[in-house]
Symmetry: C2
Subunit: 244 residues, 2 copies
Amino acid sequence: MEIGFPYSFEGLSLLILILAESALETIPKNLWKHPAVKRHSKKRKKHPKFLLLDRSYHHAAMKTLPNNQKRGRPDIVHFALLEALGSPLNKERLLQAYVHTINDHVIEVKPETRLPRNYNRFLGLMEHLFELGRTPPNGKALLKLEAKTLPQLLREVSPTQVVAFSTAGKPRTLEDVVSELSSVERPAVIIGGFPHGHFSASTIRLADELVCIDEETLETWTVTSRVVYEYERAAFLPLKRLKR
Amino acid sequence: MEIGFPYSFEGLSLLILILAESALETIPKNLWKHPAVKRHSKKRKKHPKFLLLDRSYHHAAMKTLPNNQKRGRPDIVHFALLEALGSPLNKERLLQAYVHTINDHVIEVKPETRLPRNYNRFLGLMEHLFELGRTPPNGKALLKLEAKTLPQLLREVSPTQVVAFSTAGKPRTLEDVVSELSSVERPAVIIGGFPHGHFSASTIRLADELVCIDEETLETWTVTSRVVYEYERAAFLPLKRLKR
């Protein structure tokens, strides 16, 4: 994993964006024999171990799975990464995104990655990534997957300040939070990559601050796009880009 | 179609959001016999007239289609509507979204609509909508589809000011544009629901102002989420919601 990016833009530091405990994993072994999984595996012509867990197809099979309300939603990572990678902030190479998964894998996403817009193609890409650990298979890896915990990831990227978003956090406007964060040297944000429930205690311990930006739970992609946009705003990036 | 929503929140008017010329349509008749379309139709077990045109599956068939660079991307409407409907602005019932399509259909989206997150289920829903003109088939319609041009739609919703977004427009920051717009009585925004190219001349004529908010083309869902967020910001909605 590449670390130590001293890149900045007129004083604006690179923003480290981490989707944490994301609902992205291959189908767990104890579900392989469930009829819903076998049916889906046959249709996709792939062994279940090479398929992603997806509530849209495996709802019935997921009933007995521990922590199941937080699992099986690859679409969340898909949309959130599309929002992050398509942003002007990323086009300026001022964004580095990581996906940490519920089973402690970490995907490093190179800023130049162009993700498939089509969900089924995204699933195919992620399945390859879980199988091979990188994509594309040859040449420069745009996506790299490794077994890694969130504390390990944070030690590697060594941010100077970490803000995590949760309705259980301290109420603060996003504008306020991000304008503060944009002035530190290596800022990082942690956004939950799961549909329901809360961060685990171990994730919360990694954050310098846990903030609540709305009275209701916002979707991962909504928080992602707003954080990125506020970060751009804090640096007057919209105006600077228009004036070039 | 219901019109005349005088709803406002402490002085903030309802925002009318129109995705225009959107890349959402059923497969045109002259493509029904193309091998790529027949293959897909067989797999989906539906006649091509009931299937959505989708570049992911019909790329080869679309080569001869006029204006094809603007067509066959249902994912754009999917993501953009998810961003719109999941926003705090919509939860406050201060957003009314419409999808105008490249072939002059208009979908009225009720704010309480909960769209499927899964793309394939979204396709199924849209296919039903094109077939039946409404969904769900019984009870209150959450989505209604009618043959309607963009000028017709605008006459019905009769906004006091219309801003359209295009890289061909006048460079202005989104903050500036939206803070102005948020003070008018019936503001409307037009965002292109297509992947490449520009608005047609007839669409541009409907806008009071054509603005460019970034030097590069931003994706529909990115513009949508930013417009909605700026509109919330202009009314201090984030702070108001946190203080309730």
